[in-house]
């Protein structure tokens, strides 16, 4: 059998296995349809991410390193579409989105995350889809994200001595069982982050008093928080990276300058990579439909969190003391990887439930009953199906320096995503499109971190190329 046929067979086998898993879950208990929904949205994300080479790391990295705006444009397009759908869902009370606390911690975390994603060669969602292409380095990145976060949220001892007393006092004054306040992250989360305000533009005084009904969601959350900034960023990218070259080329071909020329320049930038831009549109729409589907599931089963269904099915050991598990209700990446890391560490005797992150908030379900983790698995297999169908699957064992970059980058992504309460998806993409300006703060940090990462890689590459080219008659 030739490679093409064999790949197709594998793509169908994987699809068949996923269908079989879904049916087995349904047969076991119809409540698992909630979890199955996550699997298939994961598969859809994985297919689109792989086809569009959709990676948030490459958005800023390729811009800084190679002057290529393809991915940045793709993400901005996705944001525009996703924000409009999110506004529609919020207007019809079908949204599961909730804003996160706003503060400087989001910006700082974004910088750490940004450095990490450039070193790792992919963001949190990008690393998952690249595993589906057979990229071994991305497996290391995801392991770094998983264990980096799990350890990070459970560290106490000497780290607790560094905590400001105000965080400790504030945490102890809240209605959290004190035996769960053990790690430095517990005090940071409960005594600092939870005191920060959340901002949702549709709920601000100005928007709520000037726009009635559904319009406040479309004007505040979509137009002001996502669409206008996205268009402005697109214009900035055009002016800084594309305009000069585009107008020169246009003049050579007999064209003129002016507003019309610039508009066609922006359009040519948008359409330069059709597959990325098209996937931007589809990902934006799919992410919106995902929210709708999860809300529908919640209404269907009369719950607000999958932990309630796990409790009904008798799996009380899976849920937190609040009876919840991590169940974002939309596209999200890092917390479920933290749960996976913690689940493994627990097998080695580490108590991972004596903290707020797992013990109070997110629970620690068995991986096969973890809905968000299934979404991540779905992304990997969705990308694998697409890569196999396009003859792009190849397992690449991580070697040499890539092992270091993968693990280090993944760990930094883990360390950056936890204090921000999310990654490039949960802390940036979802928040910006949902009307939470804090998402832009994480985005700004992420881009700054990526710039630092690119500077480092430029230096590293230059050094290696100089060695490689020293035998040739090339000016170095």
């Amino acid at each position: 059998m030739d490679i093409e046929k064999r790949n197709k067979v594998w793509a169908f086998v994987i699809t068949g296995i996923l269908i079989l898993i879904s049916l087995l879950y349904y047969k076991s208990n119809p409540y698992y349809m909630y979890l199955v929904t996550y699997i298939w949205f994961g598969v859809a994300y994985g297919m689109m991410l792989q086809y569009g080479r959709f990676c948030f790391a490459s958005a800023s990295r390729d811009l800084f390193a190679a002057g290529v705006p393809r991915m940045a444009v793709g993400i901005l397009i996705a944001l525009v579409f996703f924000s409009l759908i999110q506004a529609g869902l919020a207007a019809t009370n079908m949204s599961t989105f909730h804003p996160a606390p706003f503060g400087i911690q989001t910006l700082i975390s974004g910088v750490i995350f940004g450095v990490g994603m450039v070193l790792a060669g992919g963001c949190a969602s990008g690393s998952l889809y690249k595993i589906g292409e057979g990229n071994g380095t991305s497996i290391l990145s995801i392991l770094g994200i998983s264990f980096g976060q799990a350890v990070f949220v459970d560290l106490g001892g000497v780290f607790n001595k560094l905590l400001p007393q105000s965080w400790v006092d504030s945490a102890l004054s809240k209605r959290i069982p004190h035996e769960k306040l053990t790690s430095w992250f517990d005090y940071y989360l409960v005594g600092y982050v939870w005191n920060k305000p959340t901002v949702l533009l549709s709920k601000t005084k100005f928007i709520a008093s000037n726009f009635e009904g559904a319009s406040k969601y479309f004007v505040g959350n979509a137009l002001l928080n996502a669409i206008i900034p996205a268009v402005l960023v697109m214009i900035i990218i055009y002016v800084v990276y594309i305009r000069k070259g585009f107008l020169k080329k246009r003049e050579r071909e007999g064209g003129s300058r002016g507003l019309g020329a610039d508009l066609s320049g922006i359009w040519s930038m948008i359409t330069a990579s059709k597959r990325t831009s098209l996937m931007g549109v589809l990902i934006g729409i799919t992410a919106g439909i995902h929210i709708y589907a999860m809300k529908g599931m919640q209404l269907r089963f009369g719950v607000r969190n999958f932990g309630q269904l796990l409790t009904r099915m008798g799996h009380t050991e899976d849920v937190s003391i609040w009876g919840t598990v991590f169940d974002p209700g939309y596209w999200y990446i890092t917390s479920q990887e933290a749960q996976f890391g913690a689940w493994v560490l627990e097998k080695f005797g580490w108590n991972m439930r004596d903290n707020v992150f797992f013990g109070v908030n997110n629970g620690l379900p068995e991986p096969w009953r973890n809905p968000a983790l299934w979404m991540s698995v779905g992304i990997i297999f969705g990308a694998m199906i697409m890569a196999l169908l396009n003859r792009e699957f190849k397992f690449k064992m991580p070697k040499g320096e890539l092992i270091v970059w993968g693990l280090l980058g993944g760990t930094l992504m883990g360390l950056g995503s936890r204090p921000a309460l999310g990654c490039n998806i949960g802390a940036f993409f979802i928040r910006v499109a949902g009307g939470d300006p804090g998402g832009w703060l994480f985005g700004a940090g992420m881009v700054t971190g990526a710039f630092v990462g690119v500077k480092f890689f430029n230096w590293w590459t230059e050094r290696k190329m100089a060695k490689e080219m020293e035998d040739f008659d090339i000016e170095l």
Partner: protein, 83 residues
């Protein structure tokens, strides 16, 4: 892990970055193109599909010509003429 950069003939070079993942193939391609002369040919061999789209756009915006795109198994070979 090594990057292979070879001179194939007068004004013709080969860059092999197989095994490397993002962002290395695109950065090594950019660096190589910066080092060779205008009109020289660079054959880039890589196996990270995500880098291909970026390499093509990078060449377009810098005025280089992607003369040929080949696929041999999972290896991608792009032949680029420096502009």
């Amino acid at each position: 892990m090594a990057v292979k950069f070879e001179k194939k003939g007068e004004g013709s070079y080969m860059l092999d970055v197989c095994g490397y993942v993002c962002p290395h193939p695109q950065i090594y391609t950019k660096k190589s193109l910066e080092k060779i002369s205008s009109g020289d040919i660079l054959e880039v061999v890589f196996d990270n599909p995500s880098s291909g789209e970026t390499i093509v756009q990078m060449c377009e915006s810098a005025g280089h010509e992607v003369m040929e795109k080949k696929q041999e198994g999972s290896k991608l070979i792009y032949v680029i003429k420096k502009g």
